[in-house]
């Protein structure tokens, strides 16, 4: 098991290395000369050359890649071209906001996905089940910009104004203010995932309910609640949790759109800012962090599945 974990972590690092390479290559391929972009088109060739030297752009790519990677490894993401200051501190506060948003969304996913999925599966074939199935399919068909827009139209001022549609500023104006600004974006972020996880949970629970070991447990005369708690759920959770963790990182990609809709000061908007301003160190930093979150989410998913399923634990040794 430890050996498997070690190899799994090693693999994660290999993927991260590949990711860093790709991220760097992408910004390398960015069209247009960076120095000209900063200085404007009327800059003299000397000024351009000077700035390029200053930014280290005259050095070969691999050397700059090495510098950048070693910087990233120590938490130094370089300086923003536009803002003219180190990226790391800004990134840290933005990342904290985004993680909070994702965390709240995760609570919604667990409530909406795992719980509803299980409940409907236990009522398989009833009207509740059919309704949920249909709603879940539509749920997976809603892109964040649609959910966000609809939620704003419903609760953010269109139909009624219960929750603020934008302007998250942390918890400086009180806890409720912070929470109320988080609810709509988190709901938006959670919708697709909750629907997706809910459907998986539903089918898995239904499958497990049909299994022979559940039949064996029932024929032992165990009361139904015990059958469900001891025999059904532990086995049904494995695929759902794996999927959930794999998509934790995917949700982290979705924040780009959600933060844009709700003008939320997170890492996604920072990246869009970088793209709009052609601020490549910012793009690099954000892409790297988002990708890393995704890869780590997958790793956590694997480890959790391992802890939940003794068969996998065995196979992993």
């Amino acid at each position: 098991m430890l050996r498997y974990l070690a190899s799994r972590i090693l693999y994660t690092f290999a993927i991260l290395a590949a990711v860093s390479f790709l991220v760097f290559a992408v910004t390398e391929l960015l069209p247009g000369n960076v120095a000209t972009m900063i200085l404007g088109t009327d800059a003299t060739p000397e000024e351009v050359a000077n700035l390029e030297r200053l930014l280290g752009l005259d050095r070969p790519s691999w050397e700059r890649y090495a510098t950048w990677v070693s910087g990233v490894a120590t938490g130094d993401f370089g300086d923003s071209l536009r803002m003219q200051r180190p990226i790391a501190p800004i990134l840290a506060s933005r990342l904290a906001n985004s993680l909070l948003l994702t965390g709240v969304a995760l609570i919604f996913v667990i409530l909406g996905g795992l719980v509803l999925g299980t409940v409907t599966a236990l009522n398989h074939g009833t009207r509740l089940d059919r309704t949920f199935s249909a709603v879940a399919v539509i749920g997976t068909s809603l892109p964040e910009f649609v959910t966000g827009t609809v939620l704003v139209l419903l609760f953010g001022g269109g139909l009624m104004r219960i929750l603020p549609p934008s302007g998250y500023e942390g918890f400086s104006h009180g806890i409720w203010d912070g929470i109320s600004h988080l609810i709509l974006p988190a709901l938006t972020l959670a919708t697709i995932m909750a629907a997706y996880v809910g459907r998986i949970m539903r089918t898995t629970v239904i499958d497990v309910l049909k299994s022979e070991y559940v039949r064996a447990a029932r024929l032992k005369g165990l009361p139904e609640w015990r059958v469900i708690l001891r025999h059904v759920l532990p086995n049904a959770l494995v695929p759902a949790v794996t999927v959930l963790c794999m998509n934790l990182g995917w949700m982290f990609g979705g924040i780009v759109v959600v933060e844009e809709i709700f003008v939320f000061p997170g890492i996604g908007r920072m990246m869009l800012f970088g793209i709009a301003e052609r601020d490549w160190p910012v793009i690099q930093a954000c892409a790297m962090v988002i990708a890393a979150a995704y890869v780590l989410g997958n790793l956590i998913g694997d480890v959790l599945a391992l802890l939940l399923d003794p068969r996998l634990r065995e196979a992993a040794t």
């Binding site: 039949r215 024929l219 032992k220 165990l222 086995n235 939940l308 003794p310």
Partner: protein
């Protein structure tokens, strides 16, 4: 006589839309006396599992009791509330399902699964429940029960899992245990051991048992009473011994006569015609296949009493009984010559004729590496040699993991052997990475897997036309395909059907037709018919014989079914973990000396036929040594009942040669083996003669 422990009366069960076609049980009546075992026998689809599920109130969704009642210990089950029934299940009635690996929860430890019922029904605390669990595991003869409690199901072998399931069923000391095909999927030796265990439990605990099986032999050794089911009906029920000796329903009779037996090797095996349409749901369900059917068979017939509790639903039961006891009428004239006598080609056995196929010193191995350290090479096939004469049938016997399927794959070129040679009519084949098409044409194979033997989305015409396109570059005419499909006893109306619409028997016969189409010189049948019902097997075996006479094809017949291979093959090789431990004529394989491994196979087969007392020491549950693992010395040493000592573990056994090409690889000289075995068994070949 006191009321039986369990009594099922006139039970009918149907699924939506509840018409005759969907009625899966028809007026089933059964009784289980306290402390006795009832065997329920039937083919797949006969409704035998539904009976169990109906008793347990666990019918599939939509299943409904149309009629009838179930009484257990004087109480009406059908009138009970859910809660009342729950206190009964697990406590008084326990259930063991067919597939132990599926009926144990993969994420709970054995101990938890064993004790949860005790806590619930008997109110035991954790510690005493654990103690009892240990005692139970010990009772089902599992070694080291204390450690087993903390293991997970997947860490145990199939046989061990089934023992755990039985222990689980016994947890609350129930009075009735229902076992649904408890030994299907286990090898013959393990199967015998499990059946012995059940017999012991029945005696010691005065346990009532319902044993459901398609395997007559498995039931015969255990059951006091039997019920034979067909098409959702109990066609015959009553005390086991008289029914086995002289059934009173034509179906029972044919079923029993179709059973190949080691004891009576040349006995005529009866054929039951194929079921062509769906099974009739009114009147006698068997009448379409019955050779004695009359017009009255289509009418409803409530049972006739043969003798006290012995009931039959055959209108012509008196005529069936008149045929006499089974063993006496065993010599139908037309089949007196068994396969071997009739088919043996003139040249077989003599060394002058060039063999069609010759395999020598064939090895298939693969190295396993772990963290860079190369482990010893694992050999799935280890130094196998044989020759196949024209028109000869070679049986290859061994349990799963013996390398017999790898051997087949080497011969057809799917797998490259590591060493050794394969020659087809003298031409070396091992050099090819892929066989030339002409070689492929000459060696055809039919695989075991019924579900996957034919492409599910292609029509039969396309499937059968393919060999002609491939080898002769032409599309065959319709009448050619019709002739081809008729040659395996199938009707031409199947041609436009897809494989997914065919039954298992039809699929396997179509695969056979496809293999015959290019007129191969060697046909390999890799467990091709193992999954078919006994009567179907016999039909297919006969088909093969007829075609063989016509075409002169040589056949390699791979199976784990000893009585069956005995019936079809001329010569046998016995394989264990990739290694050939015995070679000889099929007719001789039953006369000592045997290789000790063959001895356990023969012993298990005879035990299943209920003919021998346990004389072999019970070998331990097949343990963890992976199949094909590299071993020094004799691969069978760890399981061998006649192990000599360390020599068996350290030196590979010498090949000892006997008469008629008999070869045995064992450290014990042939004469000693014969002496040991004769002391314990009266010679079987002689016993047959003595009885005749």
């Amino acid at each position: 006589m006191a009321e039986p422990l369990l009594q099922v009366e006139n039970l009918s069960v149907a699924y939506p839309p509840y018409d005759a076609e969907r009625t899966v049980l028809r007026q089933v009546s059964l009784a289980v006396e306290s402390g006795e075992a009832l065997g329920i026998i039937g083919e797949s689809g006969s409704g035998k599992s539904t009976v169990a599920l109906a008793i347990l109130d666990y019918l599939a969704t939509g299943g409904r009791y149309l009629d009838g009642r179930i009484r257990f210990a004087g109480k009406e089950l059908t009138a009970m509330t859910r809660r009342q029934k729950r206190s009964l299940y697990g406590r008084e009635i326990a259930y063991v399902a067919q597939d132990p690996s599926a009926s144990l929860n993969p994420s709970l430890k054995i101990g938890t699964q064993l004790t949860e019922g005790m806590a619930l029904h008997l109110g035991m605390d954790a510690e005493s429940a654990r103690k009892k669990a240990v005692a139970l595991l010990d009772e089902v003869r599992l070694r080291d029960p204390v450690r087993l409690l903390d293991r997970y199901p997947h860490q145990l072998s199939g046989g061990m899992q089934q023992r755990v399931c039985i222990a689980m069923a016994l947890a609350c000391d129930p009075s009735l245990v229902i076992l649904d095909e408890p030994t299907t999927g286990l090898d013959a030796v393990t199967e015998t051991a499990i059946l012995d265990l059940l017999k012991d439990l029945k005696l010691k605990r005065r346990l009532s048992i319902i044993l459901i099986s398609h395997n007559l032999a498995a039931v015969a050794g255990l059951a006091d009473a039997i019920a034979i089911m067909y098409g959702g009906m109990v066609v015959e029920s009553g005390p086991a011994a008289p029914i086995f000796a002289r059934p009173a329903h034509r179906y029972s009779r044919l079923l029993l006569d179709a059973l190949p037996s080691l004891r009576a090797p040349s006995r005529a095996l009866s054929e039951i015609p194929w079921q062509e349409a769906s099974i009739p749901r009114t009147g006698c369900p068997f009448r379409d296949r019955c050779d004695m059917a009359i017009a009255a068979c289509a009418d409803e017939f409530s049972s006739a009493v043969v003798n006290e509790s012995w009931l039959t639903r055959c209108v012509r039961w008196k005529d069936v009984l008149a045929a006499g006891p089974r063993h006496e009428c065993a010599s139908d004239a037309h089949d007196e010559h068994a396969f071997s006598a009739q088919i043996r080609p003139a040249g077989a056995g003599t060394t002058t004729a060039m063999p069609v196929l010759s395999v020598s010193s064939l090895v298939h191995g693969y190295g396993r590496k772990r963290l860079g350290r190369p482990e010893a090479e694992v050999r799935a096939v280890d130094d196998v040699s044989f020759e196949l004469a024209e028109g000869e049938t070679l049986g290859v016997i061994g349990e799963s993991g013996s390398g017999k399927s790898t051997l087949a794959r080497c011969v057809v070129g799917l797998v490259q052997p590591t060493a050794g040679s394969i020659r087809l009519a003298g031409k070396e084949l091992t050099g090819f990475s892929r066989y030339p098409r002409e070689v492929c044409r000459q060696i055809q194979i039919v695989f075991q897997n019924i579900a996957g033997s034919l492409h599910p989305r292609k029509t039969m015409s396309r499937v059968l036309a393919r060999p002609y396109q491939l080898y002769e570059h032409r599309t065959p005419a319709l009448d050619e395909l019709q002739r081809l499909i008729a040659s395996v006893g199938l009707k031409a109306h199947l041609l436009p059907k897809r494989a997914s619409a065919l039954s298992g028997g039809e699929k396997q016969r179509s695969a056979l037709a496809r293999a015959y189409a290019p007129r191969p010189s060697v046909l390999i049948l890799d467990e091709a018919f193992s999954a078919l019902d006994a009567s179907m097997k016999i039909r297919v075996a006969r088909l093969i014989r007829d075609r063989k006479q016509e075409l002169g094809t040589s056949i390699i017949f791979i199976t784990h079914d000893l009585p069956f291979v005995k019936y079809v093959a001329d010569r046998l090789i016995v394989m264990y973990r990739g290694w050939v431990c015995e070679t000889g004529r099929a007719a001789d394989i039953l006369s000592p000396p045997y290789h000790p491994y063959t001895e356990t196979l023969v012993w298990a087969a005879l035990r299943l036929e209920g003919e021998r007392p346990a004389t072999l020491p019970e070998t331990a549950e097949r343990d963890s040594t992976p199949a094909g693992a590299a071993v020094k010395g004799c691969p069978f040493a760890s399981q061998c009942p006649r192990k000599l000592g360390t020599i068996c573990e350290t030196q590979s056994p010498p090949v000892r040669r006997g008469a008629e090409g008999r070869q045995i690889a064992c450290h014990i000289p042939m004469d000693d083996l014969r002496e040991m075995q004769l002391a314990e068994y009266p010679p079987i070949a002689i016993a047959k003669g003595a009885r005749a």
